[in-house]
Subunit: 576 residues, 2 copies
Amino acid sequence: MAQKPSIPKGTRDFSPEEVLRRNYIINTLRHNFELFGFQPIETPSFENSSTLMGKYGDEGDRLIFKILNSGDYFSEMDTILKKNKILSFLINDEFFINFYQNYINISNSILSNIPALGKRFEEAERKKIDDLLNLHLSSYYSEIISKTSLNSEQKSFLEDVVRDYRKVILPRCLNVIQKMKFQEGNNIIYQTDINNLSIEILNKYFSRELTSEISEKALRYDLTVPFARYVVQHQNEIEFPFKRYQIQPVWRADRPQKGRFREFFQCDADAVGSDSLLQEVAFVQLYDSVFTDLGLIGTTVKMNNRKILSGLAETIGAADKLIDFTVALDKLDKIGEEGVIKEMLAKGITEEAIERVKPIFNVSGNFAEKLNLLKDLLADSETGKQGIEELEYINTKIEALGLKTVALDLDVTLARGLNYYTGAIFEVSAPEGVKMGSIGGGGRYDDLTGIFGLKNMSGVGISFGLDRIYLVLEELGLFPEQAIKGTRLLFINFGENESLYCLKAVQSLREAGITAELYPDAAKMKKQMSHADKRNIQFVVLAGTQEMEEGVYTLKNMKSGEQQRVSIDGLIKALS
Amino acid sequence: MAQKPSIPKGTRDFSPEEVLRRNYIINTLRHNFELFGFQPIETPSFENSSTLMGKYGDEGDRLIFKILNSGDYFSEMDTILKKNKILSFLINDEFFINFYQNYINISNSILSNIPALGKRFEEAERKKIDDLLNLHLSSYYSEIISKTSLNSEQKSFLEDVVRDYRKVILPRCLNVIQKMKFQEGNNIIYQTDINNLSIEILNKYFSRELTSEISEKALRYDLTVPFARYVVQHQNEIEFPFKRYQIQPVWRADRPQKGRFREFFQCDADAVGSDSLLQEVAFVQLYDSVFTDLGLIGTTVKMNNRKILSGLAETIGAADKLIDFTVALDKLDKIGEEGVIKEMLAKGITEEAIERVKPIFNVSGNFAEKLNLLKDLLADSETGKQGIEELEYINTKIEALGLKTVALDLDVTLARGLNYYTGAIFEVSAPEGVKMGSIGGGGRYDDLTGIFGLKNMSGVGISFGLDRIYLVLEELGLFPEQAIKGTRLLFINFGENESLYCLKAVQSLREAGITAELYPDAAKMKKQMSHADKRNIQFVVLAGTQEMEEGVYTLKNMKSGEQQRVSIDGLIKALS
């Protein structure tokens, strides 16, 4: 009957030592967050699915853990499966092939002037094809209705299906058609494509619909979306600008691998409702304060600005290739200048354009010197100049105020979070010599809460990578001894009377804030000593009849073997 | 497009003030747990379903939040639904009615000597009926096989179904048959019953099977089962006796209602691997230490012992009615002596027996006096005497050591956790006058880890009710001011130069551990002052050109209106 116990892949048990060390980091973060005026909030572990879905892209949606509705979802499922049966019947391979033939025949004239491979449909062309598809679907639907003898309930159901079908499946059809038109010239390929499409669409469509029927809640994927939701929901109770911090676990259905977990803590600090660049200044100081407190000397806060990246792309006439350009640039330290240039060329950025930005591949000097180089390069870009101004403001303030242990650097290749960051971009690297990716990062996003209906709410925030900071502190031996406090004294149990005598001392020690325990049983001396040893308890106390008579306790240092006989006050004094 | 944001019912957002207050309680708990030698562990939020399911009874299983497998579960579902179709075909109403007729006809002779209403089947009778049902099912199965032309795959599938059916459905049949036999005399009722049963069984069976196919993980329901799993999984790394504490959220799909949430924190301390009653003594002291630190004076730790309850039931000859007896007794303070007696009579406990235990309805006096009364009552019960001995041991030790603010009491009506507690039972009540159920509780369980294959591991533990303690502290105004630290000084922003001048002071204050902020924009004075006011910031600092020239800062107390001009050191001094 007994089960061999295990935990789900990608999750972790934390031993006492690990929890104490993690709490040491978390307490240091809490202390500094509060010192800088950030206030803690906490949000529920699961949110309504509608709050989370669609906020992290298709890939993100897939990685969100969904929670099964409680109660009976069996009947709902049955309905959906029935729907599936009818749809499978209606939308079969024949339908797609038929549809394709139809498309070829009817639309040849309309599409005759679309150029070849590599070109995308224009809006107007898409619209025309859309209409055609709709028309085709309608006539197909009428045909089904006329051919079969459906009752009114079945008809209304079929209408539902067709409406859903238009919304979900037509856009996919369009993409396949485009592919057929421009990328392949072979009828067999079309057919395979159509075949796969039919299966894929049905499965995808139904598993999504089914999921939303049998699951309405999901575990949070990060802390930013719940924070945005919190701000909008509680906007009337919040005094802006609002600076909050949040330290809670998040869950991702990622494929587990070394150093990547399905449950992990995020530690975020954000400020919303203020455009002031003093917020960015404060975040640099906050990083400095935290890493200094942790004794982690030699970290670098690298900054960039989305506007500088936009300015660069604009300057070289590749504004529409901003993402391609920055993604390539971001790889500079991995694939080198040559690699970056190769990738940019492949993405259609011209040699001439690359020549213009070449200076940034070998930029050196301090923050101000790098800014000067950018000033030359971006002289013609308003956006670029604005980015430079922002970074200059931040750097000037930081220079005037000074940092304790962190180095502030400008890294023009830094391109994280381009999907949402609109201004400052931060990334923290561990001290040189430690093999570790970034241990923190963040940035400014102009519209944090728009998705929930609250416009014009700028936010800027940073996060600390708890797991990675843990590994770095461990590698460098930076966890202080007292972070793993544990029990300091174990009283050896010699029996009834002795144990009561000991418990009185234990009580006094605890009142003095010293962690002490009595071994719970009058077990063999050897066993008790070994217990102290295995738990790394520094002192044991021996108190037998003789000690009781004299009102003293024999304190033994487990390491040195030294012994002394002292009173309760003497114990407290020795351990303080 | 914008969504109106909300959170799932039964969950909560915590505002900064709430988080700070909750952390104040949690930190007090952590501090005391560690002082008493408990070590923190943390386990994953979700466990394998097999770890949790079946550990909390049927009702508990239903309340566990299941997590949907990521990826494509659509095909699996289809298989199950097919299985359902075949089963529905085989196991229909006709089958049940037929079955009932069969049962009546064949079993009349066997069952003729079962007495009427109120009586349960004895083991031997159950066995006979079981055999009959099995026989019937087998012949029915053979009939199906012979009537239909199934291929080998279908046959093997049908075999699976019948095997599952025996395991899951037969016990339910037995109960219905029992109901038919003993509680109702009407054929129509039988038929309805059979009808409902057929539907209910199919749904229940399939939603359970389906759930286990599409979900393999579930959110933890409490901290005890994950702890037991942890102990077994890590038994080779753990030094026993092992004292651990754990403060983490748990989730239950309970119907949300006032004061009951679907996500809430549990705060547990347990000791495993020692039978010593000194553990119980330490837990009483731990309650005393925590509630004293929280300033919550006047709490009572009520104790009982499962063995005393068993002894009482044994003494009055109702050992087989232990649960009925204690459940009735537990209601003494709600329904009074008369009510309890009525309920006991209804449960079949004799008047004579009740007369014997009557003294415990009006027990009074201190712990020792109550024990004396029990000694008389339980003189003939070995189990009862053992329970008395245990409580006496604990009380004697506590009397010798003394408690700071908690009162220790013996409450013989206390009957929590009878399904698992085997020795001590604890419950803590809030100070008199505060309307609140128990704010903590616990007990000893002889076999904590047996379910995971590690036998003879006794455990004893207590928990603290975070939400309820919060409400009590709030009602009594016991949260200390410094629990809600927040920002103490806001520097008013008068512009570029002034703000840099202020930031230098802010930096020095933070280094001295004082929470200070500069308002991020040079907004109107009124707006900035109002910001300080709304955030309950006690001091503002005004520093314009004049102050800059003199190297001072004007510190204004927002409450009294008092102002003084001081240096940075002066600011630190004034706020320390």
